[in-house]
């Protein structure tokens, strides 16, 4: 599915991953090492929900993020 590019969608995804997948703000060292937390966390989330694991924010992934749900993180802290 085509990746989504809207800033609003990106923000929805970022907020969701921070709440439920322990996404933290990327540090300079993350970027230096080529580690993109957002991609890793998206993959974790896609795997959890049985979506195709791409690490890319597509319409299916966003659709799942917008469903009503429990506020407990999916990956226990």
């Amino acid at each position: 599915l085509p990746p989504l590019s809207s800033d609003e969608d990106e923000n929805v995804a970022k907020t969701y991953l921070m709440k439920f997948y322990d996404l933290t703000n990327e540090t300079d060292s993350d970027l230096h090492r080529g580690v993109h937390q957002m991609t890793l966390k998206l993959k974790e989330m896609q795997q959890f929900f049985g979506l195709e694991v791409t690490g890319v924010l597509d319409s299916n992934t966003l659709e799942v993020m917008k469903k009503p749900r429990c506020g407990v993180p999916d990956l226990a802290e």
Binding site: E52, R69, V72, A76
Partner: protein
């Protein structure tokens, strides 16, 4: 199922709870009943016993609040997050908070059913984390099911019994709801249809969505897409001409336009042109070659002319007369990329749509990425 790190659980099987405040959405008696019933779901399958306190500090403190309600995990207004609960521990541990900005209900499928939300949250309060099983109560998404018919799924039973063991007084329900496995070699499919390029395979409470672009089928509860469509459907097909998907169960038929249920449905089978003597069909497909819709009733089938809106004469016919090599009754049917697929039990027969020649006999999970 999963548990919290360290398998957090109550050390005693006697657990107390207190309803600290009430939602104005429901009479207090309804809230009391929903909470009590939700706790009993877990008590039925474990040695846990719950005692209500009216004052002081209970293990599970139950409250309704909105936005920032004092625990550092603010709610987000209507929809989105409905509730949260903390794993067993002292202080906040075990407490369950419900978002007062939601509309909680006790009877209908509108709003969010308090019993269902509470049962899920009490799973956390007892030590279960979220499950990856889309059929489990502990799956993170809310899906409406009729509370009167609610039965704790096997995944949740296994999870809570891992922590506390089984109920020594009552035997477990021998047939708790389970989640189908796409790679089960004996898998049988209830119904199958295309929908604007994707394929949908229905099984019990679930369906798999298969996209041409993706080799990973997605398993979803039927109710999470269409709360009014029943589980365990008989048949489904996509009418290219009408740009609709029709879903059949018993003598009723529902129509979808895209993912939306068309108003005015369910209608009767006879509204689709079938004789009044037909009380149930087992499969259906739209034949692009002839422009006809085929309705299967086990080993027989009818042909419906979508243009003339009437049944063709000379039907029902034996399926094996037209589809030579077909064995057994047809339990699901699909036409896809020039082939007609007739399912029977765990087998799927692949015929050329033009010549009706049998090409292969495959397993019913052929399209499910196994």
């Amino acid at each position: 199922y999963t548990t919290f790190p360290g398998n957090l659980k109550w050390q005693s099987n006697s657990v107390t709870y207190r309803i600290v405040n009430y939602t104005p959405d429901l009479p207090q008696s309804e809230v009391d009943r929903a909470i009590e019933n939700a706790l009993q779901v877990w008590a039925r399958v474990t040695p846990l016993r719950f005692t209500r306190l009216y004052t002081g500090v209970a293990d599970i403190m139950i409250s309704f609040g909105r936005r920032d309600h004092g625990d550092g995990y603010p709610f987000d207004g209507p929809d989105g997050i409905l509730a949260h609960a903390f794993p067993p521990s002292v202080g906040l541990g075990g407490d369950a908070h419900f978002d007062e900005d939601e509309t909680f209900t006790s009877q209908s499928s509108s709003g969010y059913n308090l019993f269902l939300v509470a049962t899920h949250e009490f799973g956390h309060a007892l030590g279960l984390s979220h499950s990856m099983d889309p059929g489990a109560l502990m799956y993170p998404h809310y899906t409406y099911t009729d509370p009167e018919r609610f039965s704790l799924p096997l995944d949740d039973i296994k999870g809570i019994q891992f922590l506390y063991g089984p109920n020594p007084e009552k035997p477990v329900d021998p047939t708790p709801p389970t989640t189908p496995n796409a790679c089960d070699p004996n898998l049988t499919i209830d119904a199958v249809t295309t929908l604007r390029g994707e394929m949908m395979f229905f099984k019990n409470r679930f369906f798999w969505r298969v996209y041409p672009q993706s080799n990973q089928p997605e398993l979803t509860l039927i109710k999470s897409f269409w709360p009014d469509i029943p589980d365990n459907i008989d048949a489904a097909y996509e009418s290219i001409k009408a740009d609709r998907v029709f879903i059949f169960k018993g003598e009723k038929v529902w129509a979808l336009s895209g993912y939306d249920v068309v108003s005015g449905y369910p209608k009767t089978l006879s509204s689709m042109g079938l004789p009044a003597t037909v009380k149930r069909i087992t499969a259906a497909l739209y034949d692009e070659v002839s422009g006809k819709t085929l309705f299967f009733d086990n080993k027989y089938y009818y042909s419906y002319d979508e243009t003339k809106r009437q049944m063709d004469k000379g039907y029902p016919k034996l399926v094996e007369k037209s589809f030579v090599g077909m064995q057994g009754g047809v339990t699901a049917a699909l036409q896809y990329r020039g082939f007609t697929y007739l399912f029977s039990g765990s087998n799927m027969h692949e015929f050329s749509s033009r010549s009706k020649k049998l090409h292969r006999v495959l397993r019913s999970n052929y399209f499910l990425g196994c």
